[in-house]
Amino acid sequence: MTMKSEPFVVNVGPQHPSTHGVFRLRFTLDGERIVDAEMIMGYLHRSMEKLAEGRTYIQNIPFTDRLDYLSAMSNNLAYCMAVEKLMGIEVPERGQFLRVIMAEFQRIANHAMAIGSFAMECGVWFTPMMWMFRDREKILDLFEMTCGARLTTNYVRIGGVSFDIPPEFMPAATALVKELPERIAEYESLLLENEIIVVRSRDVGVLPPELAIAASTSGPVLRGSGVMWDIRKADPYAAYDRLDFDIPVGTRGDCYDRFIVRMEELRQSVRILEQALAMLPEGPASVEVPLALRPPVGEAYARIEAPKGELGFYLVSDGSPHPQRFHIRSPSFINLTPLRDMVLGLTIPDAIVTLGSIDIVLGEVDR
C-alpha cells in the first residue's frame, strides 16, 4: 500500500538561531524528506559595493571589517592587497609577517566559532561553544592589545599595518601558541569521536568533489570534499611562501569531513604561528602612503585564503581617489551555491547540520 502525501512547505528563518544570522530557507517536504529548498537572502544587504564607490580607498577599509565580522583581519588583508596590487606598493617584511600572524590568529578564532556552533547544531549542547569562546577570548585580547579593537579591527592598512605590535604582545602570543595544542587536543578528545556528532553528521550533506569544483566552493567546504586546494599554497601572498604547513583534506565530502578539516586547520594554524612568531624580522612594519590615494587607471583582483574560503576583491580604478568598481568575491555567498543539491532528500534537522557545516556569516553573504 502506498501512502498519498501532499507537498508541505516549511519556512526556516530569517529569525532562527540555526541560520547564523538573517538567512531564510524555504523547504518543500514530502513526508519528512526535503524535495525542494529555496534560499532567500538579502536581509542584511547594506549595499557596500555602492557605498564604496563614493568613498576614498582608505575610507573603505572599515567596510571590510563588517563583511565577515568574525574574521575582520582577513578581510582587511584581502582589500589592502588589492589596493597595493593596483598601486604597485611593496609591503616591508615585518608587515608581511604581522599580517600572517594576525590572519592565522583570526583563522583560529573563526574556526573556534564554526566548530562550536556546528557542535551545537548536531546536539552537543553548549559546552564546546563555551570552551571555544575561552580560547577565542584570548585571541581577541591580543587584537585589542595591538589595535584597540576586538572584532572590527581595521588593523591591516594599505602599505602595511596600522600599528606595530606593543612590547607585551610577544610574551602573550607565545604563551597562547604554547597553550593551544593542549587545548586542541582537549577539543579533539571531546568532539572527534563524539557519538552525537558522528551519528548526526557522517554521510549527511554529501558534496562530491566534481560538484564542489563546478559550484565554485572554496575553503573547508572544497577541502572537505577531498580537493587539495589552498590559495596560501597555490598563489602565496604575504609571507606564506616561507612557512611550512600542510593542507588537510577530507575523503567523503560529508558534514563530518568539513568539521574535521576545520579541526585540523586549527593545528596547522598553530604550526604557522609558531614559525611566524619566531621568524618575525625587525624593521619598519609599513610604508608611508598618501591619504588621498590616486591609483593609476586599471584593475586588480587580489585574493586570500580567508577562514571561510577564497575571499577576493576586484577593484577598477578610473584614476580618481574613489574606486570605480569595488566588488567582493565573498566565500560565504558562493559556498551556498550547492546547498540545494546537498539537502535534497534529507530531513530538516540534517539540513540544519549541513548549513552549519558550510559556515556562513550573513554580513558576507548579503554584503
Binding site: 544587504h45 549595499s47 555602492k50 563614493g54 576614498t56 563546478a214 565554485s216 580618481s320 568575491r329
Partner: protein
C-alpha cells in the same frame, strides 16, 4: 576578440563557445570559476569572469561586453560552471544585466519590484533625493 596580458575580451555571441573550450580543453582545464562580476562604463557594461585551473594552477580573466545600455544581455554560463548560478543572479539584481539561458534569473538581495539596479552609475533612485555614498564626502573630481 582582443587580448592583453591580463585579460581576454570575447564577443558576446562567442562567449559560450569560448567558455566551453576553456572548461573542456585539457591544456586549459579551467574547471573552477572564481567569480562573476560586472562593471558599468557608462557607454557599455563589461562582464568579468575570473577563471582558475586547479590541476594546472593558472588563472585567466575573461571579459565580454554588452553595449545596449537600456537592456544589456549576455549568455548565461551556468551550463558550463554551476558556480555562476548565484553570482549571475547577483549581477542581474545589482547591475541589471540579463543572462539569457539562466535557469532561475530572479533578484537575490533586493526584493521584487525594487526600482532600478543600484550598481549602475546612473542609478539615483533613493527616496528623498539622497545620492547614496556621495553625500558626506564630496568628490574632488
Amino acid at each position: 576578440m582582443e587580448a592583453t596580458p591580463q585579460w581576454v575580451v570575447v564577443q558576446p555571441e562567442k562567449l559560450v563557445a569560448v567558455a566551453t573550450y576553456l572548461h573542456d580543453d585539457s591544456e586549459m582545464d579551467f574547471r573552477f570559476l572564481i567569480g562573476v562580476t560586472a562593471v558599468d562604463y557608462l557607454d557599455h557594461f563589461e562582464v568579468v569572469y575570473h577563471l582558475q585551473s586547479i590541476s594546472r594552477n593558472h588563472v585567466l580573466t575573461l571579459k565580454t561586453r554588452a553595449f545596449d545600455h537600456k537592456s544589456p544581455e549576455v549568455s548565461s554560463l551556468v551550463s558550463v560552471w554551476r558556480g555562476a548560478e548565484l553570482q549571475e543572479r547577483e549581477v542581474y539584481d545589482l547591475m541589471g544585466i540579463r543572462f539569457a539561458g539562466h535557469p532561475d534569473l530572479r533578484r537575490v538581495f533586493l526584493w521584487e519590484g525594487f526600482a532600478g539596479h543600484p550598481l549602475r552609475k546612473d542609478w539615483m533612485g533613493m527616496p528623498g533625493g539622497f545620492t547614496p555614498g556621495l553625500g558626506r564626502f564630496p568628490r574632488e573630481d
